[in-house]
Every structure is written in C-alpha cells, then in structure tokens.
Symmetry: C2
C-alpha cells in the first residue's frame, strides 16, 4: 500500500484533517507533487479545505510559502543601482493607489517592481485600469522588467508564469472549491509571489470593511501579522497598514475613470483620501528601502512623479497624452434629499461598478475600459435634493438596472451634525 501513488497524499491530508502539524518534508512533498501533477486536484482540494478549517502553525505557513516559491523562478534586482520597494493591496473598491504610488516612489529614488495579477470580482484590477490607456501593454519579459526598473524606476506589469507556479495552480483551485477564506492560504499566496518577485522592501495595504475581503480589524490584523512575519523571515523588510474599506477610495471606481483620478493626484490635486493613502504608503516604502530622508509630498508638488508616470506609460507602449476612453452611455442618480452624505458603502459601489462592466466574473471575460461609477460627494459632504449623486458609465445600457439595484441601500443622506468620519489609517503592523 505504501507503493500506491495516491497513498502518501492521503496520509498528509489525513494528518491535517486530524489537526496534526505537517512536517517540513510533508509540506515540500505535497506542494511539489501538486505542481508536477503527482498530487491530484481533488487531493489538493481536500487538503485546502482541511487547512481552511484546521489552520496552520506559523512554521507550517512559512514552509508552505517557501515550497511555493521553490516551485518556480526568483527574480533578482541586486544589479540595480537603486533599492527596490513594492506595495500589495488585499483589494478594495476604487483602489487605484498603485497608479500614482509607483511613479511617486520611483521619483524619490527607489525602484518599484510591481508584478500584478488580474482582478476578479468586485474589487477591480490594476492591470485592467492601466489597459484603458491606448497602447499600454501589461506583458513584459523579465529582461524588460529589469531594464525599465533601471531606466524609468517603476514597472507595473503582469506577473510572468515562472513565479510561484504552485500558487498560480492552487489559486485557481481555491477559487472553485470554496477554500479562498483561509488566512494561511491567503498569506502564503500573496507572500510567495512577492518574495519570488525579488523586492527588497514590501508594504502591505490590508483593507478592512464591507468592501474588503477582511471585514473585521481582528481578521485583518491576523492576516497582516502573518504576512509581515513571512516577509521578514524571508529577508524582505515588510510592514503592513490596516486601512479602511467600508467607504470606497476617492470619487471613482472603474478603469479609465480611476486612471483620470490618479492623474489628478499626480498633478497635485485629487481627492484628499487618495492623496493621504498614497503618501502614507510611499513613506513606508521609502523607509523600508532606507530612503526616509525624502518627502514624497515634494515630488507630487514639483511634478517629478508625473514625469515618471509618463515615462512608465511610454516604456510599455502607452500614449500618456491620448484621450482616455469614455463609456457610450451614462445615467445619473440624484440625491433623494438635502442634507449630509453620512454613509457610502464600498461593497455596494464595487458591485455596481462590476455590474456596469468594469470587472470580470470569469478570468476569460473582457472588461470595458470606460465602464464604472463616479460619485459626486464623499461621506461628510453636503448634498442637495435632486442634484447628481452618482454617474454610472457603461457601453451596454441594459446593465444599468442591476447596477442601480446594487446601489440601493448603499448610502444614507441625513443629518450631518452627528457625523464623524472613520479614520482611513487604522493601524500599523511591522
């Protein structure tokens, strides 16, 4: 029976099912076997569910992450003339922060190698947003990434297939087997890619609230603590910020509309919350890379961050001066009463944007560059009955109905005297 191919997998699954800690050898064997196909999808699905329900120790998570890194190649930026720093967000609504942040940090003398995945579900994807810029392409070779980091200082591109292939396979499996909500599996998935990517410093933006994957501060803190420890154990200077995602970021959710808002920030304007979070993350990245002598606010003010943005877009085939695409149809939702906007729910806005065509349900879906939603007030702002509160954008007007349904109950207009804004920056873990 010991010679039977599936038998060792059954033993390792059984250990986790029965609440035992897996040995280093068991973890290496099962992750390598899954990558090679010797451990079948159904076996890894049972294992993932056992991990989801029984958890993993700190040591097991570290080993699991190391095994996923070992399944593929690691990038090496030691030949660059500058230090490197990257940022990862766990996903939020209107979260365009990477767009102004990457060129801003590069303008401060720290290279930003941001290798991203595609968005799935209501939180949107950075690559989808950038692809609304005419000509811009997400796919770069490893050599192109290295060359652009040296010449421009910032790269936002699609992660190649060579990085952590075990994670790529496991991520797709978890998506269809109900095994996404597991802190050990989320933490090892994110950190295996970021460590393999080769960044020297890493700042994690862990979102908390209705529009985020983690809806409570306790869960978000556990995820953040787990990831920070993984990064530090692997020699990557890692900190995490827990930030609010009960309200969407800025005034836009979608693709081209978020690029436009990012340009406003790079031009020295833009919504106050987007600027605040961009600067907070930039300061952490600079500190992690040993460059906390530079104030990123200066680089926004003097236009140098915008210069890097233009160079970064050009280097990947985009035309930074071209007009951004707009949706064929728009629909306005007016304020139902006069008063103060006291609540704007991130999940409602995210679902509306997704249903308008800005996001995808399946990875083979095509997103609309012009689709999305713009809101004309943020919580705390005064609104006037009958004046525009939202503008919905889509190429397909039949999408308005379900987007409006998503918005229903997603905002309150009332008496502003008792309104107190929730803080954007909740906690720092590092």
């Amino acid at each position: 029976m010991a010679a039977e191919p599936g038998h060792d997998a059954v033993e390792v699954i059984g250990a986790k099912r029965d609440g035992r800690e897996l040995s280093d050898a068991q973890i290496d064997w099962v992750v390598d076997g899954y990558t090679r196909g010797a451990v079948a999808d159904e076996q890894m699905a049972a294992m993932a569910m056992a991990i989801t329900l029984n958890g993993m120790s700190r040591r097991e998570i570290a080993r699991w992450t190391a095994a996923m890194i070992a399944s593929g190649e690691r990038m090496d930026f030691s030949s660059l003339s500058r230090p490197t720093a990257d940022k990862h967000s766990t996903g939020g609504v209107g979260d365009k922060i990477t767009l102004p942040l990457a060129p801003l940090v590069a303008a401060c003398g720290v290279a930003v190698p941001q290798l991203s995945g595609r968005g799935l579900g209501h939180t949107g994807g950075t690559l989808d947003k950038l692809e609304s810029i005419p000509g811009w392409r997400a796919a770069l070779s490893n050599e192109e990434v290295l060359a652009q980091l040296e010449s421009v200082g910032a790269v936002v591109c699609a992660a190649g297939d060579g990085l952590a292939p075990a994670d790529k396979k496991l991520y797709a499996l978890r998506d269809v087997t109900g095994t996404v909500p597991s802190i050990p599996l989320i933490a090892s998935s994110i950190m295996s890619k970021k460590i393999a990517e080769g960044t020297g410093a890493l700042v994690l933006d862990v979102k908390v609230g209705t529009g985020a994957f983690m809806t409570t501060v306790d869960e978000a803190r556990e995820l953040a603590t787990t990831m920070v420890a993984l990064g530090q154990d692997a020699g990557v200077t890692t900190v995490a910020l827990l930030t609010d995602m009960s309200t969407p970021l800025g005034l836009t959710a979608g693709n081209a509309v978020e690029v436009q808002e990012s340009l406003d920030v790079l031009a020295g304007g833009g919504p106050a919350d987007v600027v605040e979070l961009t600067l907070a993350l930039a300061r952490e990245m600079l500190a992690g890379a040993g460059r906390d002598d530079v104030d990123p606010a200066d680089r926004l003010a003097d236009g140098s961050a915008m210069d890097v943005w233009r160079a970064m877009i050009c280097a990947q085939g985009g035309d930074p001066s071209a007009a951004l695409p707009t949706a064929r149809e728009t629909q306005v939702v007016v304020a139902p009463a006069s008063g103060t906007l006291t609540r704007l729910d991130a999940l409602a806005v995210g679902l509306a944007s997704w249903r308008l065509g800005a996001g995808r349900a399946r990875k083979e879906d095509v997103v609309q560059a012009g689709a999305g939603i713009v809101w004309h007030a943020r919580p705390g702002d005064a609104v006037q009955e009958g004046e525009p509160l939202f503008t919905l954008h889509t190429d397909e007007p039949e999408r308005f109905g379900r987007a409006l349904e998503a918005l229903e109950g997603g905002y309150d207009v009332g008496d502003g005297s008792a309104y107190t804004p929730a803080p954007l920056l909740i906690e720092r873990v590092g």
Copy 2:
C-alpha cells in the same frame, strides 16, 4: 456571477465550510450535479472534507442518502413469495459470516439478497472468498438475482452499476482524498446501497476494535444509531449489533480457508464464535422479516442450510463438491512459550493475511484464492511451547517476511488465570 457554472457549488461548499446546515435543495443539487459531472471532483473533495470536519445533521444525512439513492435504480422484491432480509458488516478480520448466514436464513423461509462490493485493505471481501470456489461467478443481472431469490432463496453477488452510482463515484473519491473517516459519509454510503437494493429488513453488524474501522464503542454506537435511523426512515426494518473485532473471527482469515470454515459451520461444527455470531444475526434477520417463529439453530442441525448453500453455489456456476484451492507454500509459527493465548490482535492477523496475498491494495489487484492465515488457538486456549500457533499460506514465499512482521507483537502467551474473554456481542441498537 450567478450564471457561472461553478458558482453554486462554491456557495454550497461555503455553507458547509462555515458550519451551516445545507437545505434539501442544496443537497439534491450537489449530489445530482456530481453524478452528472457538473460538480467537479475537486469541488466534491472539498465538500467531503468540509462534511468530515463539520459533520451533518440527522436531516442532512437522510437527504444526502435519498439523493444518492435517486441517482440510480432501485430494485423491487415485492413480487417474491417470501419476505427479504439482508445483513451488512462494516468489515472485520476473518469475517466470513455472510457465507453460512445467507443460506441459513433462506433455509428459514426468508430470502436474502446480498449485493456486495469488493474488499479493499486488510478486512477482505465476501466476493473474493466465494470466488475461490471453482466456477463460481459474482456478476448477475437484476433478472437473475430475482429468479435466484425465488428459486434458491439466497443470492450473494456483485452490486450492479445501476445502484446508487453517486455513491460509487463518491466512494472512490473519498478513498484518495482522506475523507473516509466521516460517520455521515460512511452511513449514507452503506445505507444508500442497501435501501436501493430493496431489502425489506436489514441487520447491521457494526464492528468495534483494533481490526475494525471503528475502534471505540462510542464511535460504533454513533454510526449504528445513524444507520438504523436512516433505514427506518426509508421504510426498511433496521437493527444493528455492535460486535467485537479486537480478536479475529474463527480460526481463519483469507479466501478458500474461510470458505472451508464456513462449510464446517454449515455442517453443524465450526468455531464457537462464528456459530454464535451467525445465529445472533440470523435471529435478528428473521425477526426483522416477521419470521421469529423459526429457530435457525434447527436448520443448521438438520442440514437444510447446507442444502441451500449447495443450491446457491450451483446457481451461480460454482461446484460445491470441488476441492478448494490451496496455496503453494506454507510456513508455521510456533508458540514461544507454554501457557494461555491471552491476546490475538485482529489488525495484526488482518495485515498478515493481506500481505500473504489474500487481499488487494488497489481495486485492479488480483487476490490469491489459497492465501491466508490459520491460527490453531483462540484467546483463552492453552498453547504449548514449540507447537504450531499459526500456519501462513501463500503462492509467493517472498511474502512470508512482511506477513511475519505484521504478526510480531500481535499476540501474547502468558498466565491464563487472570484471563477473561471479551464478549462478542457488545450492544444492540434498534
């Protein structure tokens, strides 16, 4: 997202993962979808692990069982001139009880439709034992089963593919995904086949001890109680006996050696424990079928059970008078000391028999008809140093080494003054 094929499966898996009760509609959907291939193996594997770890309510188990029955055909014995009763054992070492039991109960006027699976692992299979009889064949059509029940009164044959195909698929999946040890899944697997088989009464022999799947009385009682409730809810008169499997049954484990021991019982002799258990199960089957006016001990004594045995073997192509096959090689293990055999471990004996070639590790393996093990004393019996304690049988002498390893530490010879035998019949659930 609601239109996405995998999406409903993810929702149903997520409900069980999060500890919620599944609705009837969810259970029907997932079992039917799995049978048709709309729910993938990896999705059912995650579901099975969530069930293994979070359990199912009595209502969920009943619905799951009903959905597995509904995945295939049901047999109908209402046209027979006699009532029907069947027995199912959860699997033990030396458990040849079906062989004398089926013809004995038929000789008492109750038809026995025993549709069996193949043995896997150390507990051996009834069909493998019967196939050691020259000419005997396990495969019968539904029409042949019905005709033989009417003419002979007893059938032991392979369960057709039409009965509970969802269970057949799920059983194979559980075997490779570490999701075998789940009382809801074990109970629904056994009972879906037995209810679909169409028997009017059912007696469950739930084994407890080292050689059984359930090693504690509490676990065995929970399994028994669950199965009895499932049977009664489905209109099958069902009782369960919890019986000891810390010691193997009788004096033989294997294939032809167990047939020979069964013939001894049918001839009015045989080991006392095999006779005791055969009669106890026969009385329960007769009571379940409304025929407790008949004493099965009389039918062993008057030879009528042996007559049915011979008719049953002939009807399936076997020659009941042919010599049984013997193994090419034997090896004797002698008693290490004089005294009393105070312990004989069922798992050790089962593993030894399996390693001698009597059982299979994979379903495509071929078993040896002559392989097995005979022990010359039972716990409580006196043994003499240097006299034979075990005889090992196999066609392949290279198997002796690992069989002897399995026996090591599996028995004790000592002072018999403090020895008290464990009761064979532990508890009745019904």
